[in-house]
């Protein structure tokens, strides 16, 4: 049917050096064939010259590449430089060496360690809770109950709520005198219910509850649901024939096959938890008495309220290293527990 594709190797290869063949128009296996002959001939592969199509590819991809340089790579390098300076926008940056990092790590900034610790506490509580919550709701939606589509929408809508609106809505629910929560508590006989967000002891758990409301039914749940539906029904049937009960099937079929999905949600969840900002900023402003002063709040305050841009850049880079470090650690640990179907057991 396609004679040029079948014998394309022998016909096109000799032309390679002279004519700028459009390799992109060919199916992948034809490109592989071309590559193979050139490696036999060795010379054109070693001195691979730039061709018109190369330039074309770069050109098409250039919006993103340019954007990467302009909005990611360039800014990262700039902030790395600023991390070693004192800079307040009005005067030029002054090189101070490691002063900013010393200030952060050695107590020169009394809010650094507490805000970092608080952010980690947040992640340690929120990541497992939201993963388990999402998995449970996904399992529930996967039971084939009637009305599942409506349930899914109901579970999902909270996650569509913009963080600001979510914070404003929940502030009103938590409102000590007129809010719904304390209304219910008084109804069931609690005489003096707490002030929730306005109480330093309860502010953090209150924030956790409202964030969970917005997180459990969201994208994480949908990804779990897709993962669950990707598990072949035959495996369950086979397990059932082998006499596996419901729990055994969950433990030995569902969970292992779901580990890649859990792993993905874990990586995304950890990063999202560490980045917590808007809900806390709008709901509590970091208070009361710094009880919800998260790392990014501290970064924002340092950079855009106090205009200590050098020190704030150091904070940003410390954050970056932490996030990348945790992600890499997760990737490394994943080898121990994530099971990929079709992979040889080592």
């Amino acid at each position: 049917m396609y004679p040029d594709r079948v014998c394309g190797t022998s016909r096109r290869a000799p032309l390679r050096g002279t004519s700028p063949t459009r390799t992109w128009g060919k199916p992948a296996h034809a490109m592989v064939a071309v590559a193979n002959t050139s490696s036999v001939r060795a010379t054109p592969a070693k001195r691979r010259r730039w061709r018109a199509t190369d330039f074309q590819g770069w050109l098409w991809a250039s919006p993103w590449i340019l954007g990467f340089v302009l909005w990611t790579l360039g800014p990262m390098l700039w902030s790395l430089y600023l991390a070693f300076t004192r800079y307040s926008i009005i005067r030029a940056p002054i090189w101070v060496g490691l002063d900013n990092f010393e200030r952060a790590f050695q107590g020169g900034d009394s809010l650094f360690w507490p805000s970092l610790g608080r952010t980690f506490t947040w992640a340690l509580v929120m990541v497992p809770l939201s993963l388990m919550g999402s998995l449970l709701t996904a399992l529930m939606l996967n039971q084939g109950l009637r009305g599942t589509a409506i349930l899914r929408t109901l579970f999902f809508i909270p996650s569509l709520t913009p963080a600001v609106a979510l914070a404003v809505l929940w502030r009103w629910i938590y409102q000590p005198d007129f809010g719904a929560l304390n209304y219910l508590l008084r109804e069931i006989g609690v005489n003096s219910p707490p002030a929730w967000l306005a109480d330093a002891r309860y502010a953090m758990p209150s924030l956790m509850v409202m964030s969970l409301w917005g997180a459990v039914g969201g994208g994480t749940m949908l990804i779990f649901l897709a993962g669950l539906q990707g598990i072949s029904q035959e495996l369950y049937e086979a397990a059932e024939i082998d006499g596996a009960g419901r729990l055994a099937r969950f433990r030995n079929v569902t969970l292992p096959l779901l580990t890649p999905t859990i792993f993905f949600n874990l990586i995304i969840g950890v990063i999202a938890a560490l980045r917590t900002f808007t809900t806390a900023f709008v709901a509590t402003g970091g208070g009361p008495n710094y009880a919800t002063w998260f790392y990014i709040l501290h970064l924002y305050q340092t950079a855009f309220q106090n205009f200590e841009l050098g020190y704030a850049s150091a904070l940003a880079w410390i954050f970056f290293v932490i996030v990348i470090g945790l992600t890499l650690a997760n990737l490394r640990l994943s080898r121990r527990w994530v099971y990929y179907e079709g992979e040889e057991a080592i």
Partner: protein, 310 residues
Amino acid sequence: MTAIRIEPKAPASSEARQSSMPIDQRIRRFFLYAGSVLLAVMFSSPFVFSVASSLKTVAEIHAFPPTLLPAVAQWENYAAVFSLKGVPFAQFYWNSAFITFTSMFGTIATAAVSAYGFARFKWPGRDAMFMVLLSTLVLPEEVVLIPKFLMFNNVPKALIGKTLIDTYWPLILPSWFGGGAFNVFLLRQFFMQIPRDFDEAAVLDGASSWQIFWMIMLPLSRPALATVAVFSFLGQWNDFIHPLIYLNTSDKFPLSLGLRYFQQQPTDAMEPREHLLMAASLLMVAPAITVYLFAQRYFVRGIVMSGIKG
């Protein structure tokens, strides 16, 4: 793109099975239904409460002990939000719409172009670049907030003599450069699944790469483009930290900042405004939910895509 079914595999005839179901199955079903109703109540009650609050009168909103539902629903509260003193809510709405649609358009256009470059051309450094693209998916945006702020402040000051802070440029312009790695990635995956035979046939007919992009790739990728549009819409509509950093004048605020601005207005104890604040919040939520309901299919696909290869 493989068809991803989110709907659970419904039993073929649940009615028929119901009657012949053993008793333990029935008990299990009962608990499942009870549990899902409980969950549904937990997920929806905050909304029910805020809708109820938004429909109360001034007297009801601060009545003590509070009531759960308004005696008569005050729908005019929603109109009142748009004529508040000192809070130009209609302006916020317009600002949000403007920022959202201009960046959405830029995202769709430039993400598609970049994705085409990654999907259909072989160029030196492409695979390395693609790895870079994937790794930026986990890059926390907060790291570049400060230098980006400086880029929109110092650089234009040096070049054209005025800052771009307190304009919409910093919010819109970055979207016009590929619109974020995730969108490029999503479209690239979609383009890869369009058979190359189509391109080849077009090449034989003398089509240029631009024509292939415009007349083959784009029309065949409508679902993926819709997904990108939905994601971009919600991302911009909900964005808070960027407007917070770049905008100072309240007239220029989008809804996210505007809602907080409204919330922080000094309130008169005699004239509480929480019912209007609730109405305003729900007015901000409404477009997001509407978009979701209309584009649910694309939305779910996008999320699932992110989980498959991300």
